[in-house]
């Protein structure tokens, strides 16, 4: 008879304790967000030129498309001086909301490996930030960062095995991001005239703030 209230107390305390520990173990309470973003426009131009003729870009704004990984949506450029955005795209350039010229505390690291095999950010990872307009966290130029540009086929191809490890604009959360294609509708065999500057990428965002990413 007296066992029942004790048992109830025990159950309640165990439940409370486990509830507390479940908050720490983010895998079961707050799952990671994994999703693929398609055709994110990054300042597209209306025509692409072949070799030998120079074509003036039409309706290119010269502005970056800012993106929030947590909310999975584009952030307006008016909010560029806030922590709302994590990563920005314009043509082949990628910017991160962190560093001397930015207002956020984000960072990025270009990691070599498979996206699916990366289950946690390695402890030795150093996050680079955008220090100047030419010294970016994700380096520009073919082969240096996320893409290869082939002058024979005029195609920008995302280097397989390059994963961007991102620290978000508020400096507290982590994500891994892999760029899949630079072209509209991610065709299997893009050519030099396929409409470009439309990013298809997938990412996994860890909302708890830990570095585990699976």
């Amino acid at each position: 008879m007296n066992v029942l209230p004790n048992l109830l107390l025990l159950t309640i305390s165990v439940a409370t304790l486990t509830a507390c520990s479940k908050d720490d173990n983010a895998v079961t309470t707050q799952p990671v967000q994994s999703l693929t973003v398609k055709n994110l426009s990054a300042d597209p131009i209306s025509t692409t030129a072949g070799s030998g003729t120079a074509v003036q870009p039409v309706a290119a704004t010269g502005k970056f498309t800012l993106y929030s990984l947590r909310e999975n949506k584009i952030i307006a450029n008016t909010d560029s001086a806030t922590n709302k955005w994590d990563i920005g795209f314009r043509s082949t350039a990628i910017i991160i909301n962190g560093g001397a010229i930015r207002s956020g505390q984000g960072g990025a690291n270009v990691y070599t490996g498979t996206f699916d095999a990366l289950t946690a950010i390695p402890t030795s990872t150093t996050f680079a930030q955008d220090q100047t307009a030419t010294q970016l966290a994700v380096p520009g130029g073919s082969g240096n960062g996320w893409y290869n540009y082939s002058s024979t086929t005029n195609v920008v191809s995302a280097i397989p095995g390059r994963v961007l490890l991102i620290r978000t604009g508020d400096g507290t959360k982590y994500a891994k991001l892999e760029i899949l294609s630079y072209y509209l509708d991610a065709p299997a065999s893009p050519t030099g005239t396929t409409p470009s500057r439309y990013y298809t990428f997938r990412y996994t965002y860890q909302p708890s703030g830990s570095t585990t990413l699976n």
Binding site: T47, T114, G140, S142, S150, T152, I159
Partner: protein, 697 residues
């Protein structure tokens, strides 16, 4: 009486083609000059040499040099800024093409277009495989192809006309006149074609119509008892009309012209029985000009030109020692100039060189050849190329041969002088001689964000070089076993280093790169080659069956290292999932087939003046381009499917007239997407008339 005898002799006159016996014994007795720069019997040479004689060229119905070369074991024709020759897995840039021992110029982008050489005046083609820079210097890295032209010693002439598919016509005439100790040989050729279109649904031809003319002459004169003068000249001109459609649907038309001339006097002075001197001078000029204009407005779209000149005086001394050993020493100077649309100004550079070779023949069974050459170039580091080769006759049937040597290839014009800014994407490419000035100019405009390599290293470039080994066995079963069978096996390995590749040297403020060229890469090619020929008597005639096969493995060493370190990945283009690349997936260098084979039948009925041939050439699949973003060849979708082409020809000779008909590419196989140079089924008919001054009986 004598008149009727003469008539009888005329009626029974065998065809003017050489007697059929030379086909059997030719490979053994043919005399070759390319391997050692001295005349040697091909069977006695310690390096792999293939000889293709005039008879085989004619019976195969070949018109241009690439036609006959693509049928030889271990050789294939690849298309890269022209149709070039691939030997032992090397790009066409790495094989030296000589005409009568003098180099052919005009490598606008590294490749020599072999379609520009007619076979009408060729006596024999000598193909030496393996590095030969110890004698010939730059570009003789994969081997040397020497085209020996006719130098008949009798008064004779011939005329031939041929017509075939795609309105291809070929007119050839030559005449040889002898007067006392002087001989004059003149040759002319006109080759024209309407081209063809493998993709009629798209605008423009796959190959545009063209016409070209070749004229050559040789004057040989025995000036004195021990003095001989040979003067050779050649002129080539080609005109091709191109039309193309741009990405914005506009049409551009224009003409492309090529002009080439060579002049080559050689004086041979047999000073004594043991000393021989040769003075050679060679001058060649090569010009191309293209002018493309918009069809609608006539405004200029692209006008570009390329002009190259080449001068080479050379002295070669030969000393015969005890009638058995031979010492050859040579010195020379090369002066070259190049001018082109994308190179600033007219570039001039020179090379001084010296070479030596000792052929040691201690016994009848053993031959050892040691040699080396030193090249001192004005624009890049000097080069030493040694070579050692030996041949040992195990028995009258079997001979073992091996050679090891160094080959090199000079940086080409683009790698030295290119000055190019891509106006659309924004990157720049500078040759090594232009990079310092180019970066300074961009820095002045404030376009350089960061210079990535030490500026002191700007312009430092070395020639690409290789170390190669060839080991082989040749067997001739005629002498001991009275079997008309010949067999030859050759194993090869080439290690190439300092391959010149583009490299990022600076970053521009627009985020793009400045590229230059540097010695970066290491590749290797290795494989085995087997060649056999067997002659049998079939009825009243002779049938010669020959077969050849090459296995090739050509890979980039840095890619192999990266794969082993787990740093290479690939993305499936459909699912976009990334996975690691395994070593077994790596297909090696692009445009190389793992397996190549040929099978040829030549049938002759000498008494009836009939001949026929059937030849099949097989090329296994080869890599075309990277499709999954990792810049290497690793998936099935990146290959061009392998294919076989069959060629058939038959000829009948009646007195002085020969009629020939044939079909190239019997099955009509084409691959419009990947192989624009494969034209489909090509039929042809030709008529040839030979005459000779009758020798007095």
């Amino acid at each position: 009486m004598s008149a009727s005898l003469l008539v009888c002799l005329l009626l029974q006159q065998t065809p003017v083609t050489p007697p059929a016996d030379t086909m059997r014994s030719r490979s053994l007795d043919a005399v070759v000059v390319t391997a050692t720069r001295t005349e040697r019997q091909v069977g006695s040479l310690p390096m792999p040499v293939t000889v293709v004689g005039k008879n085989q060229i004619q019976q195969s119905g070949s018109l241009r040099l690439n036609d006959i070369l693509r049928e030889q074991t271990g050789l294939t024709i690849v298309s890269d800024h022209g149709q070039g020759l691939q030997i032992q897995g090397f790009s066409p840039d790495y094989t030296l093409i000589l005409v009568d021992g003098e180099p052919l110029i005009g490598r606008t982008a590294g490749t020599l277009d072999l379609n520009r050489l007619t076979v009408g005046n060729i006596k024999q083609i000598e193909i030496v495989k393996g590095p030969s820079s110890s004698l010939y210097g730059s570009e003789a890295l994969a081997g040397v192809v020497n085209i020996i032209t006719e130098s008949p010693t009798r008064t004779q002439g011939s005329l031939s006309a041929r017509y075939g598919a795609n309105r291809t016509s070929d007119l050839t005439g030559d005449v040889s006149l002898r007067a006392g100790k002087t001989n004059l040989y003149l040759f002319g050729n006109r080759y024209a074609s309407a081209g063809y279109d493998l993709t009629p649904e798209t605008f423009g031809n796959t190959v545009s119509p063209f016409t070209n003319y070749t004229g050559s002459g040789r004057l040989t004169s025995q000036l004195a008892n021990r003095l001989k003068l040979t003067l050779t000249g050649r002129y080539f001109t080609e005109n091709q009309n191109t039309d193309a459609q741009l990405t914005d649907q506009q049409i551009v038309l224009g003409a492309g012209k090529v002009n080439e001339y060579t002049i080559n006097p050689v004086v041979t002075h047999q000073v004594s029985d043991v000393w021989k001197l040769m003075y050679r001078y060679y001058r060649s000029g090569y010009n191309t000009a293209t002018d493309l204009r918009y069809q609608t407005t006539g405004a200029e779209y692209d006008a570009s030109y390329f002009r190259q000149t080449f001068n080479r005086p050379e002295l070669v001394v030969e000393r015969t020692i005890r009638n058995r050993h031979f010492l050859t020493v040579g010195v020379g100077y090369i002066g070259e100039s190049v001018e082109a649309t994308r190179y600033p100004g007219r570039q001039v550079f020179s090379t001084r060189y010296g070479f030596a070779q000792f052929e040691w023949v201690p016994t009848r069974r053993l031959t050892v050849i040691a040699g080396g050459r030193y090249d001192d170039h004005s624009q890049y580091a000097s080069q030493v190329s040694p070579k050692l080769s030996a041949r040992y006759e195990l028995s009258p049937t079997l001979a073992l041969r091996g050679s090891g040597g160094v080959g090199f290839k000079a940086p080409d014009f683009r790698q030295l002088y290119l000055n190019f800014d891509n106006g659309v994407v924004g990157y720049s490419v500078f040759g090594t001689q232009e990079v310092a000035a180019g970066i300074a100019r961009l820095q002045q405009r404030g376009q350089i964000a960061e210079v990535l390599i030490d500026p002191a290293r700007f312009g430092a470039i070395r020639a690409e070089s290789s170390v190669a080994f060839n080991l082989g066995l040749s067997a001739n079963f005629q002498q001991t076993y009275d079997l008309p069978l010949q067999l030859s096996v050759n194993l090869f390995r080439n290690d190439v280093r300092d391959l010149i590749e583009t490299q990022v040297v600076a970053q521009k403020t627009n985020g793009q790169n400045v590229f230059s060229y540097t010695n970066l890469n290491r590749v290797f090619t290795q494989g085995a080659e087997v060649d056999a020929s067997y002659r049998l008597t079939l009825g009243a005639g002779r049938l010669t069956v020959s077969a050849g096969y090459q296995y090739l493995d050509a890979r980039d060493k840095s890619v192999v290292d990266a794969i082993r370190a787990g740093q290479v990945f690939r993305r499936n283009p459909e699912t976009l999932v990334t996975e690691q690349v395994k070593l077994a997936d790596y297909g090696g260098l692009l445009n190389r087939s793992r397996h190549m084979a040929n099978l040829k039948f030549f049938y002759e009925l000498p008494k009836q003046g009939l001949s026929a041939s059937l030849r099949g050439i097989y090329r296994s699949r080869y890599g075309f381009a990277d499709r999954n973003g990792n810049l290497i060849l690793d998936t099935d979708s990146e290959y061009v499917p392998g294919y076989i082409t069959w060629h058939v020809a038959a000829a009948k000779t009646i007195r002085q007239l020969t009629v020939q008909a044939g079909i190239d590419n019997l099955t009509g196989y084409t691959d419009p997407q990947y192989i624009p140079t494969l034209a489909g089924r090509l039929w042809y008919v030709s008529l040839r008339w030979n005459w000779q001054q009758r020798a007095s009986i």
